[in-house]
């Protein structure tokens, strides 16, 4: 069984979600990695841990790339396409599903082939459930759920000598990218695949303090997230929103600063391995979901983290007061 994996590069490196896609495909048999930008040495080394086969070319139009990937699938007699959940990869997944009449399974954390065909494990309902999906035909498009994939099978890297993607034309009118600008500051850790996420809510009280938390997260290589209230107040952008209508994430560590814990928000990070909640209201619903409960003023905690206060014996007076707290049954 051969799979084709759409890999993506940003700043000359494979995205974490692309590596997740390679990991899912590697468990199913042979893998051909395809890229619509020329693969860097670093990317080829990362691909080499999973497969020696890669094809690349500079293809700017997503519809043309989708048509190209369809040709690669047919040429390599591949039955499965695996992709990351970026906007471009989802477009490719959708176009290919139509072109090749394939079902799409999304939020995939693992896949296996057995007598019944292809069995896919998915993350459902914001991580509150896991669903097993069977594809009797064994042919499908799979979109991975970042950070939910086990990458244990990674082997030492092999040399990858990339081939060139075939030239394919489509009758679909072109989409032109007229400009592209990276975010003005150093790129933040992507929310979808970050291992550590620091998130702020209404309890931080101001856009400035939320930004202070974001800067602190950035300085530590952690991703920054937000609940709905600060986004609606215009304190931060929608791309930081964690929850039902924002990102659904499964980091190793999720720290909630001044977030009360509305159900829509909880749905976004329930799969986190460790949840730490800081809130001065001991009855905040977020504490029901937390592993570590810290009853303290999140504003003071952020101010101290951001201020990099040098701790000394005399700093004890500036510590937030910790209330004695017993969880209500």
């Amino acid at each position: 069984m051969t799979s084709v994996v759409v890999v993506e590069q940003v700043g000359g490196a494979l995205t974490e979600a692309s590596i997740d896609a390679l990991a899912v495909a590697a468990g199913l048999g042979a893998v051909v990695a395809v890229s619509c930008s020329m693969l860097s040495d670093a990317s080829l080394a990362a691909i080499g841990r999973w497969t020696p086969l890669a094809l690349h070319a500079q293809i700017d139009d997503t519809a043309v790339f989708a048509a190209t990937v369809a040709v690669v699938l047919v040429k390599h007699d591949a039955d499965i396409l695996v992709a990351a959940p970026s906007a471009a990869s989802r477009e490719i997944a959708g176009r290919l599903a139509v072109r090749l009449s394939l079902p799409i399974v999304s939020a995939v954390s693992a896949a296996a082939l057995d007598g019944a065909g292809l069995t896919v494990k998915t993350v459902a309902d914001g991580g509150q459930r896991a669903a097993l999906v069977q594809v009797a035909t064994g042919r499908a498009v799979l979109i991975v759920q970042p950070a939910a994939v086990s990458r244990l099978a990674a082997a030492p890297t092999r040399d990858v000598d990339p081939g060139t993607l075939p030239t394919v034309i489509t009758r679909i009118r072109a989409v032109t990218v007229e400009s592209w600008a990276p975010h003005s500051e150093a790129p933040p850790a992507p929310l979808d695949s970050a291992r550590i996420v620091l998130a702020g809510g209404r309890g931080l009280g101001s856009a400035e303090r939320l930004y202070a938390l974001e800067s602190f997260a950035r300085s530590r290589g952690a991703a920054f997230g937000s609940s709905r209230a600060p986004v609606e107040a215009g304190w931060t952008g929608y791309n930081t929103l964690v929850g039902q209508t924002g990102a659904t994430i499964a980091p190793d560590v999720y720290v909630a600063f001044g977030i009360s814990g509305a159900p829509q928000h909880l749905a976004g990070f329930r799969s986190a391995k460790l949840i730490v909640a800081i809130n001065n209201d001991p009855t905040a619903p977020i504490f029901d979901e937390a592993d570590v409960v810290i009853v303290a003023d999140a504003r003071e905690v952020v101010d101290r983290l951001a201020g990099q206060i040098l701790r000394s014996a005399s700093s004890a007076a500036t510590q937030p007061s910790i209330a004695h707290f017993t969880r209500a049954e």
Partner: protein, 248 residues
């Protein structure tokens, strides 16, 4: 500019499954989260011309169409057919594409992803069936001055792109593409009383196909939270937690 907006009616609460492991759609439903912004963009881009909202779904999906009408959509079409229950994504796509062709739309808008399934692949599928270009996950949509092109902004984790294509085209709309408008008394009444056109698969000339991918087991992920009360210095604790996680 004739605009068709595809909206989705989703369960209002956490989805329940039937004994056959299909989604139980008998409960309360609501418009999918991002669609309020999508309808807003559709009404704006139509600029006085028609903005037609379309959904395929159970009888209850009518509440979502009425909400879209209240938000300013001119007409609503409900594809409602028992024969379509449990049909695959390809059938859904063919149904919606048939409505789009029947309406002779210049622009088709839909949400970046639905708030229940969150697949985000329907836009690519619809665009491929129509052989149209797609601007995916965009906001700041605008029609070119000569009314032959569509431009928009796409922001992701890494940067911001300006993208452009020729009409007719599909665009999937990101959250917060606009500020939701307050519904006036006239729109409220029109939304509640307007006639909604109902179509079947046969009306559209599409024969439903069953999905080849089937859910056969759903398990609840039990995560036992420790609820451990920490009474030391939070800053010290967070610093050590960050150092530990970065090292692992």
């Amino acid at each position: 500019m004739k605009v068709v907006v595809l909206v989705k009616d989703v369960p209002a609460e956490l989805a329940q499954y039937t004994a056959a492991l299909t989604l139980d759609r008998s409960g309360e439903s609501a418009m999918s989260g991002v669609d309020v912004f999508t309808v807003g963009e559709g009404v704006r881009l139509a600029a006085g011309d028609e903005c037609v909202v379309v959904t395929m779904g159970p009888a209850g999906a009518i509440v979502t169409l009425r909400e879209a009408l209240m938000l300013g959509a001119s007409r609503a079409i409900h594809v409602f057919d028992e024969a379509l229950v449990g049909s695959d994504a390809l059938t859904t796509t063919r149904i919606l594409a048939a409505v789009i062709e029947r309406e002779a739309a210049d622009v088709v808008l839909l949400g970046r992803e639905s708030s229940d399934a969150r697949m985000g692949t329907l836009a690519g599928m619809v665009a491929e069936v129509l052989s149209w270009p797609l601007l995916s996950a965009v906001d700041e949509l605008s029609i070119g001055v000569d009314a032959t092109s569509l431009s928009a902004r796409r922001r992701d984790d890494y940067g911001t792109a300006r993208v452009r294509t020729t009409l007719p085209a599909v665009a999937s709309v990101a959250e917060y593409a606009n500020s939701p408008v307050e519904v006036g008394a006239r729109d409220l009444e029109r939304g509640l009383t307007a006639q909604i056109e109902v179509l079947t698969a046969a009306d559209l000339g599409v024969s439903p196909a069953a999905s080849v991918a089937a859910v056969f087991e759903v398990t609840t992920v039990e995560r036992v939270r420790r609820h451990e009360l920490f009474t030391g210095d939070p800053v010290e604790y967070l610093e050590s937690l960050l150092a530990e996680s970065a090292a692992s």
